[in-house]
Structure formats: C-alpha cells, structure tokens
C-alpha cells in the first residue's frame, strides 16, 4: 500500500467536497432550523391533502414568508415554519383557525416548537465551546499518551470530518438545528476513536523504524489495521442505516449526516490522519537534524 505517497490525491478529494459544500453554502445560504434562527414550528394533522395556497390563506396574517411543507406518510400533515416568534397564544389562535376550517379535534395539533432568537445563539455558542474545550482536552490526552504531532494530526483529521459533514448538510440542504449539534459531536467522538486505533499501531511499530522511513511505517500500520477500520465502520453503518431507513423524520435528519460522518471518519483515519502525521514528522526531522527519536510510552 502506498497511501502516504499518494496523499495529494486524497487531500484533493476532500478539498473538492469541502469546497463544493462551502461554496454552495455561501451562495444558497445554509438551511438553518428555527432553533438557530429563532422562530416557531407547528405541525397539524389535516386528515386530507390541501394545497399550499389554502394554508397560506390562514398563515399570511401572521407571517407572509412562513415556510409550508406537507409531511407524514400521506402528506396530510402540514408543517409551518416561521422565523417570527409565535408565542403560545398566537399558536392557539392559528390552530383555532385550522380547527374551524378543517373541522379538527384538539389532538390534531401534533407538535409545536418555539425558540426565542437568543436561544439559537446560545446553542451555537455552547456547541462551539463544547467542541473547543473537548479538542483541547483530546489534544492534551493524545500528547500525553503519544506525542504532540499525533495529537495535531488527529485534530486535523477531526476538523476534516466536521467540514465534510457541514458540506453534506449544505449540499443536501438538511436543516441545521439541535440534532446537527448532536450529530457533529457524535462524529467528533467517533472520528477520533477511529484515528487513535491507527495511531496506536504506528506507535507500536515505531520500534521497527528503519532509516526514518515514516511513510513506510505508516503504510504498514494502516495495512495492519485496515480490516478493523472497515469492519467497525461497517457495523456502525449497519445500525445507522437501519435508523435512517426505518426511523421517523427527526431521526432521519440526524442519521443522514452521521452516515456521512462515519464514512468520512474512516476515510480520514486512513487517508488524512496518517499522511499528515508523516508530513509533520518529516518536517521535524528536516529541521532538527537526522537523529531519530522513536517515542514509545
């Protein structure tokens, strides 16, 4: 296997996907959910198929730009999303109009959610801090158990995976909301886990290092762990795909980016993390003379 030598190919593939995603995101804008923008969501079972215009008749008095969609197996559930802050009384008022027009029962008002604008910002801030703090924590742990360069390479692979997932969100226009945060954090945990197993093998093989040939060492270590990497991502993928195929709407929104994340996490532990580590290592030797210092702790 000559994975490290062909790193330009791997880096280009990733760069391409990320660039497309981010570019599309910049041009079209991300599909931000109401928990990030602030606003309200209502789902009402109408027991019949209705045109969007008919719904808009009712909603335009509250928000002319409200997003209207039909969900459920028979598309009889209307989902109204608005960036306006509908409080409880307004929501009851809107539902009453639907109730009158379509002769509904109380419990046909299936779901309602409302987020003040401040809450969305808080979720983002908290997620940002959570990711920053855990990154520092992980970097510290890996530096302690392995070496700083391993930590750095692992974190780069991690950032790669998160960018890929953001790109997937952007390309497929999946709403960015609280499940997005949870999905990102799951990938965060999964991806690092995957990378560490490969690095563990490199660490172990360091004692066989010959002529500072780090590329060969990394290639061998990847070859030795590749069936584990594939099997683990397979079993993980089996469960998430089952969730995606059989789960409800909210779960599917969460499962799709996870599928992308698991694939990306496996890809990056093989094609990104190790080549990056080799690059870092070679640069170190170039700068600091040729004295090899294999670290085994």
């Amino acid at each position: 296997m000559r994975i490290v030598e062909q790193r330009k190919i791997w880096f280009s593939i990733s760069a391409f996907i990320i660039a497309v995603g981010l570019l599309l995101g910049l041009v079209r804008g991300f599909n931000r959910g109401i928990d990030f923008t602030g606003g309200a969501l209502m789902e009402i079972e109408l027991h019949q198929t209705v045109s969007v215009d008919e719904i808009r008749e009712i909603t335009k008095a509250y928000d002319e730009k409200a997003n209207i969609a039909f969900i459920g197996e028979e598309r009889t559930i209307v989902q109204i999303r608005s960036t306006e802050d509908f409080n409880n009384q307004k929501r009851l008022e809107i539902f009453d109009k639907f109730k009158e027009k379509y002769n509904l029962e109380k419990d046909d008002f299936l779901r309602a959610e409302q987020f003040g604008p401040a809450v969305g910002k808080e979720i983002q801030t908290k997620a940002f801090w959570a990711i920053l703090v855990s990154t520092i924590g992980m970097l510290a742990y890996i530096s302690y158990r392995f070496e700083f360069r391993f930590g750095l390479a692992a974190i780069i692979a991690l950032i790669h995976d998160m960018l890929i997932v953001i790109a997937v969100y952007s390309i497929l226009r999946i709403p960015i909301n609280s499940p997005f945060v949870a999905a990102m954090l799951t990938i965060f945990g999964y991806s690092i886990n995957d990378t560490i197993v490969v690095f563990d093998r490199i660490r172990e093989n360091l004692r066989f290092l010959k002529k500072n040939n780090y590329a060969q060492l990394a290639n061998d270590s990847i070859a030795q762990t590749v069936s584990r990497s594939i099997n683990t991502s397979l079993t993980t993928l089996i469960t998430i795909v089952a969730l995606y195929v059989l789960g409800v709407e909210q779960i599917r929104e969460f499962a799709l980016p996870l599928i992308a994340g698991v694939i990306s996490g496996t890809y990056s532990s093989i094609f990104i993390a190790s080549p990056v580590w080799v690059m870092l290592k070679e640069r170190q030797n170039h700068n600091g003379g040729n004295q090899p210092t294999p670290e085994v702790k």
Binding site: G116, A127, G189, V197, T232, T236, L237, T239, L243, G247
Partner: protein, 418 residues
C-alpha cells in the same frame, strides 16, 4: 476441566438468555413481577408526548434578590402544576434567569402552557379611592363553590386581609348603592373579572368572587388564586409540545429500527468471526443489558436522540471486539497456539481500546457539561455506552473466550476466523 468449563459456559448462556427474556417481555415469579425495560425506562417528552416550556424572568434584579424571585416563581409553578395531577412534572432552574417546566403526558398541551405562564396577580381595589385593599397574598384559602345555583370562588382571608377588607367595605358601603364608588373591583392580571356593589361592611375574613363562571372556570380560578401570583413577568423563550400519538409512533419505529440494526450486526459478527463472533454477540447482549439497566438505575430519561445514541453505541461497542479479534487473528497467523494468541492479543489490543475510548469519553463529558435537555441525554448515553463497552469487551469477551478454549472444542484456528 473440560466439563467444568462447559458447565460454566452454559450457565452464563442461560443467565444471559433469561435476563434478555426478562428485559424484552418482563417476568413474573410468584408475586414478584419484573416489568420489561420498555416500561421501566423513563421516556422523554419526545417519546411520550407532553410539553416543555422555558421561561425567562424579565427583571434587572441580581444576586440574592434574583434568587429569591426565581425561588418564588418555581414555588408558584409547582403549585399550579400540581393542579394538573401529573405523575412526573419537572420544574428546574436553568441558568440564572430561566426556569424549565416539563409536563410529560399532559393532555391539552397548549392550554397547559397558557395556564402555567399566567401572571395571576389578584387584586381587590376599592371603588372610592382606587387603592388596593387586598392582594392574592392575603388569601388563605380559595375554593370553587356554588351560591344560589351560580358558581363562585369563595375566599378565606388572613387576619391582616380580613381587617383591611372589613375597613374598605365599611367605607364604600357609605356611597350610594350601585354607584362606582360603592364597588369593590376584583382584578386578575389587569382584567376586571367581577365588580360587586357593597351593601354593608363585610367582616370575618370571608369573601366571594362571582362573575358568571361555569364549573371549570371557577375551579381553575380558585387554583390560580391559591397558587398565588408570579412575582415577576415571564417570557416564553423556548417551548415544545408533542402529542402522545406522535411520540409513541417515534418510539415504536425507533425500537423496530434498533431491533433490525442490532440483528444485522450480530449476524455480521457471527459470519465474519465465527466462534469469537459468537462470543462477541453474547458480550454485546450483556453490553445492552448493562446499558439499559444503568439507564433505569440512574432513572435517566430516554429521548429520541438518546435512542439514536444507544443504537449507534452498539455499532461502536462492536469496535472493541473487532480490535481484539483482528489482533487475535494476527497472533494466530504468527503461529501462536489459540491459548497464547488470546493472551497476547488481548494485551496488545487493550492499549488501543483504552486510548481510543478515553479520547471519546473526554468529548462525552464536555458535552454533558455544556449541553442542555436532549443533548445532555445524548451525552449521558454516550458515556454509559463507552464505559459498558470497554468492560464487556475486555472482561466479558476474554472470560468467555477462555472458557470456550478450555472446553477443547476448538483447537482449529480456522474457527477463530484466521
């Protein structure tokens, strides 16, 4: 030796089998009943249906004063929520100025939000000088009652209130009956709900509010007054309601997805790794029992993202086993005996498992610290999952694998996937 190992192995198998059966369908021995996991796990609002609201206090108060206001507000909420008679309501402060109210299983969610968030400031105002005579704080008891076929709310006042009320009624009774000065205005949340004229001084600390109520209205008003007014204006910053039907549907579909996903994983392990795969499957079953059991023991709430995390964690729990088995295969290929290969395989795999799981644990703990609501539930599931998977892979799988080898059934290394 062979016999002993075989007996222990079968015993383990029987216990795991019985435990799984209990977990799925429940068990009844004599008078003791163990209910299945599905019924004993506390389900979140998104699975059970219900409502949650986060309120923010609109106040500039700080420090101790703010704490006092929040404490009072929570007390008022608690009183009001009690009126719903729900089994597991939750009222907790969130941050400094916020309160989160969760009402699982409430039937009319939107109404519930309406009633909890009512300011419910009760005031009795004298008609002559427009001064406040009584507030809700002076009311000792408030009950719905009938008076001449009409529903009214009867009040019992505290001593101070009784005195003030007696004085004020004596004063306004002087004015011409029917005039505005002759009235006592009963005001709830800045709305006059009743404005009776006063014929004579009312002493003894009893009073009534009549206002053409029907039975439900009278009961609700009495409950609101009993609970007292909120000490501060509140804003609904976040809320979510979901009907029970939608929640149950989500639960059933997720459970089905979980069953199929897990079944496929077990099949994969069995086909790919053969005997170790079988052992790993037993270990995985134990893993799931531990995780769900811990969930019940901690009285943790299972949410929709929680289920996703749980299913995902099964996929990841397999990882530790896969690491071990791949090592095992390598050691066997290097020419070691099955027994020696197990020992060195586990030893070498352990470091990889430890380091990879601890890094993920770091993410889990940070997430738990920063997250709220469903995210917190997700993080908890992740943490429990990682700890349980490390335990089952390193302890249970090793123990079972050694038992198996001890039975001398499998000297052939092919059976170990090599």
């Amino acid at each position: 030796m062979k016999m002993k190992n075989a007996i222990i192995f079968l015993l383990v198998l029987a216990i795991v089998g019985l435990a799984s059966y209990t977990a799925i369908s429940g068990l009844q021995i004599g008078n003791t009943t163990i209910s299945p996991f599905k019924d004993s796990i506390k389900q979140g609002l998104d699975l059970k249906g219900g409502v949650y609201v986060v309120y923010e206090a609109k106040t500039d108060a700080e420090g101790e004063e703010l704490q006092r206001i929040m404490y009072q507000t929570i007390e008022v909420f608690r009183n009001r929520v009690d009126a719903f008679g729900l089994t597991e309501p939750l009222i907790v402060p969130e941050g400094e100025k916020r309160i989160r109210v969760e009402l699982p299983g409430v039937e009319d969610a939107q109404e519930a939000i309406d009633m909890i968030g009512r300011t419910a400031q009760l005031k009795f105002v004298a008609g002559d000088n427009q001064e406040v005579v009584l507030t809700g704080a002076n009311v000792k008891r408030a009950e719905a009652a009938t008076e001449a076929g009409q529903y009214v709310v009867s009040l019992e006042l505290d001593t101070e209130g009784a005195e003030a009320f007696s004085e004020a009624t004596a004063r306004v009774a002087e004015y011409q009956y029917g005039s505005n000065e002759n009235k006592i205005y009963i005001i709830l949340d800045d709305e006059v709900i009743s404005d009776p004229n006063v014929k004579e001084r009312i002493s003894g600390g009893r009073s009534q509010i009549s206002g053409g109520f029907d039975r439900d209205e009278a009961i609700r008003l009495a409950a609101l007054i009993r609970a007292g007014g909120l000490p501060v204006d509140l804003e609904e910053v976040q809320s979510s309601t979901i009907t029970a039907t939608l929640g149950v549907n989500a639960l059933n579909k997720s459970v089905k997805a979980a069953q199929i996903g897990i079944l496929l994983v077990l099949l994969f392990m069995l086909i790919y790794y053969r005997i170790p795969g079988l052992v790993a499957n037993i270990a995985l079953t134990i893993y799931m029992l531990i995780v769900l059991g811990t969930f019940i023991a901690l009285n943790a709430t299972l949410t929709l993202p929680g289920i996703a995390a749980l299913i995902l964690s099964v996929g990841m729990a397999v990882d530790a086993n896969v690491i071990i088995f791949e090592r095992l295969k390598e050691e066997l290929r290097a020419g070691k005996t099955v027994r020696a290969a197990i020992d060195s395989g586990f030893k070498r795999a352990f470091r990889a498992i430890l380091d990879s799981n601890i890094t993920t644990l770091i993410a889990g703990f940070v997430l738990y610290q920063f997250g709220t609501g469903p995210i917190k539930g997700f993080a908890l599931t992740l943490i429990i999952g990682i700890l349980a998977s490390m335990f089952t892979a390193v302890v249970v799988t090793k123990f079972l694998l050694k038992l198996f080898v001890g039975m001398d059934l499998a000297k052939n290394s092919k059976l170990f996937g090599a």
